[in-house]
Symmetry: C2
Subunit: 192 residues, 2 copies
Amino acid sequence: MAATYRALCDHGYAGLTIQRIAERFPKSKSLLYHHYDNKDELLVEFLGFMLDQFETCVPEPEDAEADAMDPESHLRAVLDAMLAEQLPDEHHEFLAAMVELRAQAAHDERYREQFSNHDAFFADRLASIVAHGVEAGRFRDVDPDRVASFLLTTIVGAMTRRATVESAAVDEVRAEVDAYVESRLLAPEVEA
Amino acid sequence: MAATYRALCDHGYAGLTIQRIAERFPKSKSLLYHHYDNKDELLVEFLGFMLDQFETCVPEPEDAEADAMDPESHLRAVLDAMLAEQLPDEHHEFLAAMVELRAQAAHDERYREQFSNHDAFFADRLASIVAHGVEAGRFRDVDPDRVASFLLTTIVGAMTRRATVESAAVDEVRAEVDAYVESRLLAPEVEA
């Protein structure tokens, strides 16, 4: 999986071959060829592996630590990570590869299932933060699932545009998402 | 260009070949092979052609007709078109192909230039509507370019997710974009 990550960053989806992954694989290369008939089989497994990693790394909102965190700060921390103004070069290369992988889902059911799982996971995490804020009286009485779908869609749009156009203006998008959070989500007591 | 559109709807980017476009081309097929060395050359030209069509079809905000239109209705009409709850089958197939074409921009400069032009055009049109609303006192004193970047990013995200996941929840996204328009854009006089 680490060899796949590095090969994706270096070559993107279009330039990727099992050969190029094997070049970064310290163990027997024949093992790789034995396990996977083609790059898509390996990449679909890679996407499942990534989601497992996310599930381990992104804390459950039910955790004591998350409970202790102010919902507004929690939401802004997620937005800081997902809508960062600048990306390190390696992240940018990986993001470009992910945009290419997601596009495979337009015609390949296996990729579609993986990205459906990815999106469902992130929407669920966002909805939990929003629900937490509504319960705590910090956010207005919004529909957490609706807000989560909207934020996730904007995040996916920013990732897609960052990888595919000259000027994705992610700083502008982030500023306007903050304005949305202030005008739509924050309960009046917090604004005052 | 019409043959390319139909072949894209039927086969998507991955399944597209010059042969399959030629099958839908009423004139001499050798003409096609003579003009284009590969499908990407043809598709990049197709994207430029599409933008020309948009420029003809989407009215300049300076037009008398657009001036006469209430900016809020104008903005909602654009959102109705870009974030429609349901798409006809043919539109869905074309959208899937466009998501695949956009992903080519992650590693191909020619596609990147085309999608940069597409996004700049739509951002400019959205910004003009918002600027018009601010000038008319119907919208708050927001930054039109920032609002446009944000709305365009959400629209690109919705198109991308619609083509790549089981449940893109575009109806939820649209409802929340409407909430954004109400809480962030509409001037207080309009709300009252």
